[in-house]
Symmetry: C2
């Protein structure tokens, strides 16, 4: 008998993540917002705390610093964020929202809330909480699996 991967969490997580990304970009487009899911998330993090070093942003968005470099490149071209060299430590770039970035983010937040609401539609509060609790356990489990090579989040 074959091992049935459909009865594990694995396939669902990937599918939903991908599907949601598509939807988000699609709904953004319908509202004349030109943002990818990744760009949106970074704007959101900058809105929570503006002017962060690239390294910190890489950490909180679970991303390699090189990936963040290029995401910032793209977003700087689109004038959503700007790099400002740190006054005291010249190695550091602080990343700030531009006015345009802030406006686009504010326009996008209710759309994202609506979309998340639709996604979670039909789940009771309890069901939702239980699911998140389970996913947190899963995340914790993954973090406890040792791996030699994983040094990107140091």
């Amino acid at each position: 008998m074959q091992y049935d991967f459909e009865k594990t969490l694995l396939p669902w997580l990937g599918r939903i993540t991908k599907e949601f990304s598509f939807l988000a970009v699609s709904v953004f487009e319908n509202n004349q917002i030109d943002l990818t899911r990744h760009q949106w998330l970074l704007l959101k993090k900058l809105n929570d705390k503006d002017g962060q070093p690239q390294n910190d942003l890489a950490f909180i968005t679970d991303r390699d610093k090189t990936s963040l470099t290029r995401l910032i490149n793209t977003m700087e071209r689109k004038e959503l964020v700007k790099r400002v060299p740190d006054a005291t430590d010249r190695r550091i770039n602080l990343v700030y929202l531009t006015q345009k970035g802030r406006e686009i983010l504010e326009k996008s937040i209710p759309i994202m809330k609506e979309l998340i609401g639709q996604m979670q539609n039909g789940l009771s509060t309890e069901e939702l909480e239980n699911t998140i609790t389970a996913l947190k356990k899963v995340k914790a489990n993954l973090e406890n699996i040792p791996q030699e090579k994983n040094n990107r989040l140091k």
Copy 2:
């Protein structure tokens, strides 16, 4: 008051997916298996049913056909799969596992099972089932959200 996205499913799904990919590749490496998560999944699907057209494989792996083209390119270079033109319809390439592909897949399956087991560790059968049920609902919700542009899965 800020809307707290951490209390929605959204951030957890993406994080876990990414973290699991890392772990899988890392554990594969430790066992001298050179596979990415995507390559592994395709091998798995071919093992379930060998000799499928590229279009069908794109569909069942939730992927654009162009993405699949290039994934097959990579995997053909690594001699994991091979393209065989369909005898009756010359537009179609049927994709088959190679001997090497099959061997590597068989070596990888117990490792994947083990990793999924570790990921789901501490979740009771009931909890796991409830979580999967909830995720299925979420997936169904996403599919019911209309979007003009999404024509990739036709």
